[in-house]
C-alpha cells in the first residue's frame, strides 16, 4: 500500500517502470470507478439512514487506492513505535503487553471502595481508577453544607489523607498503578496519594499512576472546576515541574476528550479540542522555562470510544499523528517519548440506553473492539446498568470479561494496527487530521483556548452538537435500538445498586474524629504557609504535601488557596 511516487528523481530504470505501472493502474481504476459510480447513482439506496457517521461526517459507499494515493507511507503512516506513530505508540504493542484493563470505580466510603478494588484485583483487573463523589470532585469536605445528599453517591468520598490511607489499605502502591479522575482539586488528591504511598513506605519515585488534572476541559465540558483558568494552569505547571524530578514515573495529566465528547461534541471536536488543550499545557510548561523533553513524556491522553466504529479507530490514529507532528515540528521536542501519544480509553457512557439495558453489553463490546483496533494503552468498559446507577458487581464483571474475551479469544491483539492500509480507515484518518487543523486555526483566531473558554466558544459548540444529535434521534434520521426503534412495551426492571445515606453520616463522624485528634496548630501553620506560597507565586507542591501530612482536609486546602485565587464564574448560555 506504499504509494511512493516520486517521479522527479527515479533512482533506477526499475523504479521508473514501477512508477509507470502504478500510474497506469490508477488511471484504469479511475475509469472503472466512474462506471461504478454511474451504476451506483442509478441504483436505489436505503432511506433509513443518510450514510453519515454519528458525528455527521458523510461516508461514501466505496473507498479505493485513489483515496490514499497522496499518502507517503513512511512519512504519514510508518511503523508502530516510529514517528509519526500512526500505527501505535510502541514498536511491539500488544505482542509485548496487552492494554491495561482499568475499571473506573468508587462509591460510598473509602472502606467500601477498598473492598471493591480488592474484588477487581482478584478478578484480573490490572490497574485501578478512582471515581470520586461530587463533593471531592469540587474540593468540598464531606461535611460541608454544600455536600449534603451527595456524599459517596457518584463515587467515593475522600476528604483527607486518612481517607486515602483507608482507600489503599492492603493495596501496595508500588505495584498497582492508580489513576484518579480529579481535576479542580487534582493537586490535593495527588498529594493525598503521594503521602499515602509514603506511609506504606513507598518512595515517590516508585509511585505509578495518573491524575487527570486537565482543567481546560473542565471549563469546556465536565464542569468540576475551582479556580479561574490562570491560577489553575499555574498549579498544573507546578505539578509538572515538581514531578519531573520527584515522581518521574507518574503521569501528571490525562488530557481528556472523554468528557468533551460525552457533553455532546462530535468526534472531530473531541479530537481537536483535546489536542489543542494539550498544546496549551505544553506552552505553559515552556513559558515556565521547563525543558519540553523533561515534562512532555509524562503527558497522557484519554479518549471516548463512541458507536461509530471506523470513525473512532481513525480518531485514535489521527490523534497520535497530529500530536507527534506538533510536538516535534512546533514545540521542538527532541525525544521520541515526547512525540508519542499514549492514551486511556473508555467506552461512551452516553451511548448506553436505559431501555433494554442488556443491549448495552453489545454496544460496549463493539466500542471496546474499536479502542483496541485504535491502539489504546488502557481501557475501561462500561457496565450495562451505568445509565441507571453506579454498576452492580455482576454488571462490572461482565464488562471486565468483555475485555478478557477481546484480549484472549478473538485473536485481534496478535497483529499490530490491522486496519492500516484500509483505503477507508487511512483516508478517514487523513480527513480527521485535516479537519482538526482547521479547528486549531479557528481557536488561534479567537486568541487561544483560555480566550475561547471565557467567551463560551467551546461550550456553545458542544451544546450545538448535542442538540443536533438529539434532533436527529427525535426525527428518527438516526436510529437508536430500543429508544426510537425496536422498542419493547413491557420491560422488566434490572437489579441496580443503591447507595444509601449512611456514607454521609459515616464521613461526618470520621471528619469530626480527625479534626479532634490531629494537631490543630500544625494544620493552621501549614495552611498559612500554603496561602503564603500562593501569594509569592512559589511552587505549591512542597507546602501542599506538608499540609496534607498534618491531615489538613480537602476543603481547608481549597479555602487556603481560594483566598489568593478566587473562583471561576461560568459564562451561562444554552
Amino acid at each position: 500500500m506504499s504509494h511512493v511516487i516520486d517521479t522527479d528523481v527515479p533512482e533506477s530504470a526499475d523504479l521508473q517502470q514501477e512508477v509507470e505501472r502504478r500510474r497506469t493502474e490508477l488511471a484504469e481504476l479511475e475509469a472503472k470507478l466512474a462506471e461504478w459510480e454511474a451504476t451506483s447513482a442509478a441504483t436505489r439506496q436505503r432511506d433509513d439512514t443518510d450514510f453519515t457517521t454519528v458525528s455527521g461526517q458523510p461516508i461514501r459507499a466505496l473507498y479505493t487506492p485513489l483515496d490514499t494515493r497522496d499518502d507517503d507511507y513512511l512519512g504519514d503512516v510508518g511503523l508502530p513505535g516510529d514517528y509519526p506513530f500512526t500505527r501505535g505508540p510502541y514498536a511491539t504493542m500488544y505482542r509485548t503487553r496487552l492494554w491495561t484493563k482499568r475499571m473506573f470505580s468508587g462509591f460510598a466510603t473509602a472502606e467500601e471502595t477498598n473492598e471493591r478494588y480488592k474484588f477487581l484485583l482478584a478478578r484480573g483487573t490490572t490497574g485501578l481508577s478512582v471515581a470520586f463523589d461530587f463533593p471531592t470532585l469540587m474540593g468540598y469536605d464531606s461535611d460541608d453544607p454544600l455536600s449534603e445528599g451527595e456524599v459517596g453517591k457518584c463515587g467515593v468520598a475522600i476528604a483527607s489523607l486518612a481517607d486515602m490511607e483507608t482507600l489503599f489499605d492492603g493495596i501496595p502502591l508500588d505495584q498497582v498503578s492508580v489513576s484518579m479522575t480529579i481535576n479542580g482539586p487534582a493537586i490535593m488528591l495527588y498529594c493525598f496519594l503521594l503521602a499515602a504511598a509514603e506511609k506504606q513506605g513507598v518512595p515517590f519515585e516508585k509511585v505509578t499512576g495518573t491524575i487527570q488534572n486537565d482543567i481546560l476541559k473542565e471549563y469546556q465540558a465536565q464542569h468540576a472546576w475551582i479556580y479561574p483558568p490562570k491560577p489553575a494552569l499555574k498549579i498544573i505547571t507546578d505539578i509538572f515541574e515538581w514531578s519531573s524530578e520527584k515522581a518521574p514515573k507518574f503521569n501528571t495529566i490525562s488530557i481528556s476528550g472523554y468528557h468533551i465528547r460525552e457533553a455532546g461534541a462530535t468526534a472531530v471536536e473531541e479530537l481537536a479540542f483535546t489536542l489543542k488543550n494539550g498544546f496549551t499545557y505544553v506552552e505553559e510548561g515552556i513559558a515556565r522555562g521547563l525543558d519540553v523533553d523533561e515534562f512532555a513524556p509524562r503527558l497522557s491522553f484519554f479518549w471516548d470510544v463512541h458507536n461509530d466504529f471506523f470513525e473512532e479507530i481513525a480518531k485514535f490514529r489521527a490523534g497520535r499523528r497530529i500530536w507527534a507532528r506538533h510536538m516535534r515540528e512546533i514545540y521542538g521536542a527532541k525525544r521520541a517519548e515526547s512525540w508519542r501519544l499514549r492514551t486511556h480509553a473508555q467506552t461512551a457512557g452516553v451511548t448506553l440506553t436505559a431501555q433494554q439495558p442488556h443491549n448495552n453489553i453489545v454496544r460496549v463490546a463493539y466500542q471496546g473492539l474499536a479502542a483496541v483496533l485504535g491502539g489504546t494503552q488502557s481501557l475501561h468498559t462500561n457496565a450495562m446498568d451505568e445509565t441507571l446507577a453506579l454498576p452492580t458487581e455482576h454488571a462490572v464483571r461482565i464488562a471486565l470479561r468483555t475485555q478478557q474475551i477481546l484480549a484472549f479469544e478473538t485473536g485481534i491483539p496478535n497483529t499490530i494496527d490491522p486496519l492500516a492500509g484500509s483505503y477507508f480507515v487511512e483516508s478517514m484518518t487523513d480527513e480527521l487530521e485535516r479537519q482538526a487543523e482547521e479547528i486549531f486555526t479557528e481557536i488561534d483566531d479567537l486568541g487561544g483556548v483560555v480566550a475561547g473558554i471565557e467567551s463560551g466558544y467551546f461550550q456553545a459548540k458542544i451544546a450545538r452538537s448535542a442538540r443536533r444529535f438529539q434532533d436527529e434521534v427525535e426525527a428518527k434520521s438516526r436510529l437508536i435500538v430500543g429508544v426510537n426503534s425496536f422498542e419493547e412495551e413491557d420491560e422488566p426492571d434490572i437489579e441496580i445498586l443503591k447507595i444509601d445515606e449512611s456514607a454521609g453520616a459515616a464521613q461526618h463522624a470520621r471528619l469530626a474524629e480527625l479534626r479532634r485528634t490531629r494537631d490543630g496548630e500544625a494544620v493552621e501553620r501549614s495552611l498559612a504557609a500554603l496561602t503564603e506560597a500562593a501569594r509569592a507565586d512559589r511552587n505549591l507542591m512542597p507546602p501542599m504535601l506538608d499540609a496534607v501530612r498534618c491531615y489538613a482536609t480537602l476543603g481547608e486546602i481549597r479555602d487556603a488557596l481560594e483566598i489568593v485565587y478566587g473562583r471561576f464564574q461560568e459564562p451561562v448560555a444554552f
Binding site: F134, P135, G149, Q222, A224, A263, A466, V483, N484, E570
Partner: protein, 139 residues
C-alpha cells in the same frame, strides 16, 4: 389558545456538572415557544427558589444526575412552598430510579423524565399542565 408564554426555570442544583440534558431541554423548550431561564451549574436550592420567585415562573425543571435527587427535589419543593409558590410545577429529569420517582411524586413533584426521553414529550407535558392549572392560560 395559549395567550402568554409559559415561563420555565431550568436549574442545575447541587455539585453535579452534567449539563448536556439541561441545555438540550432548555433550548428545545425555548424553541417550543416557552420563556426559558437557565441558572447555570452548581446552584443551591435557596438560589433556585429565589430565582423562581424573582422571575415569577410557572415551572421549575430540575436536572440531577448526581444521585442527590432525594435531598434536592424535596428541598426545592419546601422552599418554593415557604415562598408561597405552591402553584408552581416542579418537574425534572436525570438518573432517578423508579422507586425514587414514586416517592418524589407522592410529595408533590411532577413527572420526572429519564434517559432516552424525547424533548417533545417534556414540552407537551408542561403545556398540558399549564393549560389545566393556570387560570390565565386560556383566552
Amino acid at each position: 389558545m395559549v395567550e402568554r408564554k409559559i415561563r420555565v426555570l431550568v436549574a442545575k442544583p447541587g455539585l453535579d456538572g452534567h449539563d448536556r440534558g439541561a441545555k438540550v431541554i432548555a433550548a428545545s423548550l425555548r424553541d417550543a415557544g416557552m420563556e426559558v431561564i437557565y441558572t447555570g451549574l452548581h446552584q443551591t436550592p435557596e438560589k433556585i427558589a429565589a430565582t423562581a420567585l424573582q422571575e415569577d415562573v410557572d415551572v421549575v425543571a430540575l436536572s440531577i444526575l448526581s444521585g442527590a435527587h432525594m435531598t434536592l427535589f424535596p428541598r426545592v419543593l419546601d422552599l418554593l412552598r415557604e415562598n408561597g409558590m405552591d402553584d408552581v410545577l416542579i418537574t425534572g429529569g436525570g438518573i432517578i430510579p423508579q422507586e425514587d420517582v414514586e416517592t418524589l411524586q407522592a410529595l408533590g413533584i411532577g413527572r420526572l423524565f429519564g434517559p432516552g426521553t424525547a424533548t417533545g414529550d417534556a414540552a407537551k407535558y408542561i403545556r398540558e399542565w399549564f393549560v389545566e392549572n393556570r387560570a390565565d392560560a386560556e383566552a
